[in-house]
Amino acid sequence: MIHNRTMIEPKPAPSSSVGPVAWLRSNLFNGPINTIFTLIGLYILYLLVVPTVQWAFINADWVGTTRDDCSREGACWVFINARFTQFIYGLYPRSEIWRANIVFAGFFTLIAWLAIPRLPFKHWVAVFALVGFPVIAYVLLHGGYFDLPRVPTHRWGGLMLTLLLATVGMVGALPIGIVLALGRRSNMPIVKSFCVIFIEFWRGVPLITVLFMASVMLPLFLPSDMSVDRLVRALIGLTLFQSAYMAEVIRGGLQAIPKGQEEAAAALGMTYWKRMGLIILPQALKMMIPGIVNTFISLFKDTTLVMIIGLFDLLGIVQAALADSRWLGFSLEGYVFAAFMFWIFCFSMSRYSQYLERKLHTGHKR
């Protein structure tokens, strides 16, 4: 029997088990097989990274105005430079680009304001972002008011159009998706059937078909004197398509909430909408962040499909520029640039969702 032993004071761990050398030893070189894998991995990395860096940076040409400024030993970023305005604004008239710039600035300011937790008046900023800002953006981009010359939507393009499609799609698809998900769980047979049919219809057709139908078939059904802007049709098609996916993501989250939560809320006398809005959805949406962001990211990339109905989003305008006879042969640079722009936005969304998950997780683990 052991009792009354003197307490052992805490000591630092032996130096061989802490620090970078120890980390290397225990993670990369902790045995002959692991060491071989590490070395092979490093070699492959070397084979890939060195030529890429050489192509993209060291041998690349950055300044100039025509293709003759490129040595062709590395990437020719001159092409991107020369076409940059077009890639961002599409065919938007040069003299009016300041209008698009104001919208861009407002857009990124609002997003940053809503994303950075320290900043105050979140509710009012959110209301403005959803109600006031779209009106301002429309007036500025489209013109026709306050002596601003009209810029028809077929001249909008590039990153501006991609962001517009993605933002409207996300902002529209989330609430419609929530309503559809709630409807699908409803006890009311008509509401339920409508939601099931809606979701299954939109999930069952490819987005390309939706866009084709919106641009080719819809005008056949509308009276001949009525025309809906092509961009608006694409936006509606994209939003409805994504809301069906969103609905299923959200329904998954709703199902994970224990039944007792709704019972407890009901027992307190809450109405259906209060039970959902105050108790069920806040918990469900938090759990669904990865799924929602996943849908957002795929939506963001799906916007490239509007190319097939003649709208020039970021990828579409890059492709159009590649066909320019003065710049033949730079498709690699063009696609790398487009991929990089898409990657930046999608990666930011992914990081922000991870941050949100961590932030919302603190305090109340179950």
């Binding site: 019972e263 407890a264 027992a267 307190l268 209060k274 105050l278 918990q283 305090g363 109340h364």
Partner: protein
Amino acid sequence: MTQAATNNPGTSTSDLMVEMRGVNKWYGDFHVLRDIYLEVKRGERIVICGPSGSGKSTMIRCINHLEEHQKGEIVVGGVPLTQDVKRIEQIRRSVGMVFQHFNLFPHLTVLENCCIAPMWVQKKPRKEAEAMAMQYLERVRIAEQAKKYPGQLSGGQQQRVAIARSLCMHPDVMLFDEPTSALDPEMIKEVLDVMVELAEEGMTMLCVTHEMGFAKTVADRVIFMDQGQIIEENAPEPFFNNPQSERTQLFLSQILGH
């Protein structure tokens, strides 16, 4: 059965809080509640016991329409329970319920759990709702945890918060659905103590529980249910010392004998 109520000095008023007349309920073909007749006066404390699957929980869940009955009449505080959603919500506002698994809202702090219904259902201003919530949290001796989330509390603490949350709506009746069954033994007492105090203050209570000590201390009436029926109904003393039905005797010998 009325003698038991009048014997107790706490229950002098005679108006009925809950009336169940010929209530029947089926789950598909399964007949869970069979011809339930029950009258509960204001201030009466009723303990309901019986083997599992006997319909005790279903019966009290019918009172606030968490379960729907298919036949018979239920009247709560003079208001007949119908399919009408507004009517159901009105009744639910006056009937508190405490669940076996607490069902606190995990995304809200203890204080917010208590305030949310007074603020959103009764439209009380936040300050008033919070002050009242703190009062009730103090009564269940958990005020110091008000800023914590339910997941940070022990089971017994969570159940006391759940009781406070119900009390914040100033209910006329409290329903307890096996409030101590999910608790570790050392936590049962802290919850029962709160319930005994509540009973002593004259709250009308219907309590499904196997805590026979609690039944002996506070109940005006003990109801024994089996196979969806009320088998026996009596004041605690005769119920425990001289049970009439065979099934009651068997049940009591099983739960008191171990």
